[in-house]
């Protein structure tokens, strides 16, 4: 036990070492409970405790609380300590109050009373304690009680310096809590003049307060500008010995300098020429000092010096008026871009982002393009790479857009999951903003979908369609390009959507070529149909009906598809309804009517890009419109730019509903769009739909009404997911994991080494919104230490028919056996719904295949011969045995297929590496099918005990 400084509360020290000696969590809890019981009995006992004892017990309670346990008594005793005359008792009392008592507590009145007594005390240390307590808690009640006393203390000539410092920051806290209650009135100018105080500590504290006051009413405190400039000037011109203890590693008063520089960022450049010159001199001096050789090799010296430098650069950028300073700042940051300190590279990238928005320095920033692109490729820390992406986005203009977009696309392939979505948005915006040649734009977006389809949000692919529709010079090219893109054997769903839409509108432009004749286009699209989710199928059905209009020659084939049971009797009402209605539409109406209904989409009205809006929403403040930069730096090009600032047509607005994205004609019955663009001339159409509406098509309202009845009775059915649905997901990453009458839960996941990114989709199947919707990932028992899961919050309201998405980041810390559980709660028609669903996150998701030759395999196999490392299972084949399927199952399980290793070609040999944060675990497998007996023998060996058993069990369920 180390020596206890100051007062020796021996009982406390003994208790702390007891706790530290506890071998297990249980023992610790036991010891704590014993202590709590002891303290409780002491507090309740009739023997009155003296101040020291009270202090000691309160201190113990505080310690227990800080260990993470709940404390529900002792508050009163702590408040009693406040009125003690002994400093240490008072001090512990205040500490307990600041840490443990919430501002809303009933005890606050008593606390405020004690503070009142202390604040008028003649003993300055008592006053300081009281002030520190206010600064720590800073409740509204306190602001009411002390809004006169504290300002008075602050400006009074009798107050000693340390009290002044506390009073300044105390007032700042109250100002932040209750700005309306703090009015300085006639004291304002005296507060400003604290900047001239002799005591540097007082100036430092006051500068923070003054900045907050300035933010509230700049005019009233304008006088501080000249005072701040002259103070700053005195600091930067002083030698480091002048300021004695306020010099920090040879840097004079860095904290105060930074505060003053920030204070000045609240005002435009000073109007008074003398003040302005003086400020410019200060900033120049700071820039000069950065070029001087360091006075110390210590990192503290350079940090403090550079902290001041960066703040000075911030001020230079803020003033944005002196080209000389701006360019110097840019050159300085350029040096930092290749500095060996990661911190400096990070900050340089960040500050340069701001410089790129200034017309004076935009060009200077562009000189560093190569370095920044290099940073994107070589930085090892994702937060630094993120800054590099931001800077590239900010420095992009018409001259370098093609290069930058190309680099960003290349990087996207390997980019971290956490920044992909944002990068996709940025690339999409840049491509649109600086496109000279719209074929380039179309290529870029299609590349985007190819490389990072999962991260391409609805806004992005809506946008490319809007632009193609509004620009007839690119329509033919777009049709040709999507047609080619769709020929890839595996293409992303978003590609199918864009392709479906564009071919539906402009397929006729490429139909002349026999390689993309109508029937070829149709067959190509339809080859993707069965792989798509219902909303995409709905979109494709609309494309098909447009094809009937564009290419009457393939009408028969298309009608046959519509008539197919898979569509006309599809359990998904949206698909069913479309199939029925389109079939009727094309059978009943004349070609003229059909042509009118299915006319080409009208151009979209111009509005702000919805992608930009999305980026702003995602990163408020950080997503400046690049135009702000480009606009200033090269006004002529931008002004003449024929930019179609168009945006979503009503039916294109993301409706939240999953089906909404595919709703092109506004036919969806669940969420009627504000306008149905193509149906402006539908005199006879109404009849067609009336005829259909009566019975041919069950509307979604009809279906859900029945479901509603079941739940109106305000019961709270506790719904459990089907028992072993989870086994379906051992070898699959996407799909529907749970479904009942109310809710459908889908999953989309991807894994890379020991990290996983899981998207959960919650679909409201009813016609009533869910409220108070929460979904949390629970890691029961041991799992909490084996897996880390971070679930982003999900909107608490899920509209009828809508789908909400939730992103869960998962990290495998070490191997685990049970899957995490999703706990879902919401209100449906006033009835609380609760369900728990197992998440299909199994340990094999963190497996990655490994390749090796036969010799290596057998060598490793031999090395893993301890009994705990092996697990063997012999079991009967459930589905028929099929070599190809087995192969693909093993591959999807996360293992390789090693050919020519096993002498028997019927057998399978695989290897993989299980990635966890703590270690990488080698896994080897041998699977021997016996087709006569319809049995398998599965053997798994792993370099860590018990893993082979877990994997064996998971894999067995698949055969």
């Amino acid at each position: 036990m180390p020596a206890v400084k100051g007062d020796g509360m021996r009982g406390l020290a003994v208790f702390i070492s007891d706790i530290r000696n506890c071998k297990s969590r249980e023992a610790e809890i036991k010891r704590i409970n014993k202590e709590l019981a002891n303290i409780r009995s002491k507090f309740k006992g009739d023997k009155t405790l003296d101040g020291y004892q009270k202090k000691k017990y309160v201190c113990k309670l505080l310690f227990i609380f800080l260990l993470g346990h709940d404390i529900d008594f002792g508050h009163m005793e702590a408040v009693n300590l406040l009125s003690s005359n002994k400093y240490t008792e008072k001090q512990i009392g205040y500490l307990f109050i600041s840490v443990l008592v919430s501002a809303s507590s009933d005890l606050m009145k008593l606390v405020v009373q004690s503070i009142k007594n202390d604040i008028v005390s003649r003993n300055p240390v008592h006053v300081c304690l009281a002030l520190q307590c206010i600064a720590n808690i800073g409740s509204r009640d306190m602001a009411e009680a002390f809004n006169r006393d504290i300002p008075k203390l602050l400006v009074s000539g009798d107050t000693i310096d340390s009290v002044k410092q506390s009073a300044a920051l105390c007032l700042l806290r109250l100002l932040r809590t209750a700005p309306d209650l703090i009015q300085l009135g006639e004291w304002a100018s005296r507060v400003i003049h604290l900047l001239n105080d002799q005591h540097m500590g007082v100036v430092t504290a006051a500068a923070s307060l003054i900045e907050a006051l300035v933010k509230r009413s700049p005019e009233e405190y304008k006088g501080c500008v000249s005072l701040a400039v002259s103070r700053l000037s005195r600091i930067v011109t002083s030698s480091y010995t002048d300021l004695q203890d306020y010099t920090y590693y040879f840097v004079p008063a860095p904290w105060l300098s930074v505060k003053l520089l920030r204070l000045l960022q609240n005002y435009p450049p000073p109007e008074d020429p003398a003040v302005r010159t003086r400020l410019t001199e200060c900033l120049e001096t700071i820039l000069n000092k950065a070029q001087e050789p360091p006075k110390s090799k210590k990192v503290q010296h350079s940090n403090a010096k550079n902290a001041v430098l960066f703040e000075a650069i911030n001020l230079i950028i803020h003033m944005d008026s002196d080209p000389n300073l701006l360019v110097r700042a840019c050159n300085q940051l350029g040096q930092f871009l290749s500095h060996r300190e990661t911190n400096l590279r990070y900050l340089a990238l960040e500050s340069m982002c701001l410089l790129a928005t200034s017309e004076f320095s935009h060009e200077a920033v562009k000189k560093h393009q190569e370095t920044v692109i290099n940073a994107l490729k070589t930085e090892r820390d994702v937060s630094v790479r993120q800054r590099a992406v931001d800077l590239l986005y900010a420095m992009c203009d018409r001259t370098n857009a093609e290069d930058i977009v190309a680099e960003m696309l290349t990087y996207l392939e390997t980019a971290d999951y956490s920044i992909r979505e944002e990068m996709v948005l940025k690339v999409a915006i840049l491509a649109e903003k600086y496109a000279v040649d719209y074929t380039w734009y179309v290529d870029t977006i299609l590349n985007l979908i190819r490389l990072a389809g999962d991260y391409v949000s609805e806004e992005v692919w809506y946008r490319v369609i809007q632009i193609v529709i509004n620009r007839d010079d690119v329509q033919g090219y777009a049709a040709k390009t999507v047609f080619e893109a769709l020929q890839a054997p595996a293409c992303h769903e978003n590609m199918v959507k864009v392709g479906g839409y564009i071919l539906g509108e402009f397929g006729n432009l490429i139909a002349g070529d026999h390689r993309s004749s109508p029937i070829v286009q149709f067959q190509l699209l339809h080859s993707k149909y069965h792989l798509c989710i219902p909303s995409t199928r709905g979109l494709l059905l609309s494309t098909y009906v447009k094809f009937i209009n564009l290419f009457p020659e393939i009408k028969a084939q298309i009608q046959e598809i519509l008539r197919n049971d898979n569509n006309i009797r599809n359990p998904d009402v949206e698909i069913q309804q479309r199939a029925i209605e389109y079939l009727q539409l094309t059978s009943v109406t004349s070609t003229d009517v059909l042509a009118t209904v299915l006319e080409e989409m009208p151009p979209f009205p111009e509005r702000e890009s919805s992608i930009l809006a999305k980026l702003k929403k995602k990163k408020p403040g950080a997503a400046e419109d690049p135009d702000a930069a480009g606009g200033k730096s090269s006004p002529p090009t931008v002004a003449s730019k024929p930019m179609p600032e168009i945006s979503v047509n009503a039916s294109y607005q993301p409706q939240g509903a999953s089906g909404g994205s595919a709703d092109l004609l506004g036919l969806s019955s669940s969420a009627p769009p504000a306008a149905a663009p193509a149906s402006n001339d539908t005199g006879c159409l109404v009849d067609v739909f009336d005829m259909l509406g009566t019975g041919a098509s069950p509307t979604s309202n009809g279906l859900t009404a029945a479901a509603d009845e079941n739940y109106k009775s305000a019961t709270t059915p506790d719904l459990e997911a089907g028992p072993d649905k989870i086994h379906e997901f051992v070898c699959r990453n996407n799909g529907v994991i749970f479904e009942n009458d109310l809710l459908q839960i889908g999953i989309k996941s991807e894994y890379k080494q020991n990290l996983g990114r899981v998207g959960m989709f919650y679909g409201n199947k009813t016609s009533v919104p869910f409220s108070n919707f929460t979904a949390e990932v629970s890691l029961p028992g041991e799992l909490s230490s084996q897996l880390m899961a971070q679930a982003k919050p999900v909107d608490s309201q899920v509209e009828a028919g809508a789908q909400k998405q939730q992103l869960v980041n998962i990290e495998c810390v070490t191997d685990f056996t049970v899957p995490p559980v999703l706990v879902i709660n919401f209100l449906y028609n006033g009835a609380q719904q609760h369900m728990t669903v197992k998440m299909p996150v199994m340990v094999n998701k963190f497996l990655e295949p490994a390749e090796m030759d036969a010799a290596t395999f057998f060598q490793r196999w031999k090395n893993l011969s301890a009994p705990a490392q092996e697990c063997q299972k012999i079991f009967k084949a459930k589905p028929p045995m099929d070599g190809e399927q087995t192969k693909s199952k093993l591959l999807c399980f996360g293992l390789s297929i090693l050919e020519d290793v096993d002498p028997n070609p019927e057998n399978f040999v695989s290897a993989g590496v299980l990635h966890t944060r703590n270690q990488q675990i080698g896994v080897l497998l041998r699977l021997e099918p016996n087709s006569q007996a319809q049995m398998y023998r599965l053997t798994i060996r792993a370099s860590k005990d018990a893993i082979s058993t877990t994997l064996c069990e998971l894999l067995e369920s698949q055969f």
Partner: protein, 155 residues
Amino acid sequence: MLLFSRQGKLRLQKWYTAQPDKLKKKITRELVTTILARKPKMCSFLEWKDMKIVYKRYASLYFCCAIEHDDNELLTLEIIHRYVELLDKYFGSVCELDIIFNFEKAYFMLDELLLGGEVQETSKKNVLKAIAAQDLLQEETDDTKSLLEELGLTG
């Protein structure tokens, strides 16, 4: 401001904005795991929600501050350093155990350096003077008590 050990045990926490306890625990847990997962050569700053996190490791302890976007990161790093210097000077080459056993002192010292989330006093001398004055007050009052306790007369 948070202080926690390499094993993820929280040693000191100071909140400058009011948060419900449950949220505090959640934030703490998230931050501790995020920071412990980072590698030594990585940048000391990271964006977290709408805040910035500045952290530094000293021996077995991580010191971590959440600051606003336009706050100065490098100087926050130096506030942490100054706090460590203060602890070091006061305890005489400070170690994690000192902070565990004298947690209240660690809090008092932090209150002298930072108040309401802003720097109050940057002079090492002045902070140590204030703390020494506190100790002096304590010794005056505690002499008799600790004697009693040595004899085992109080619990």
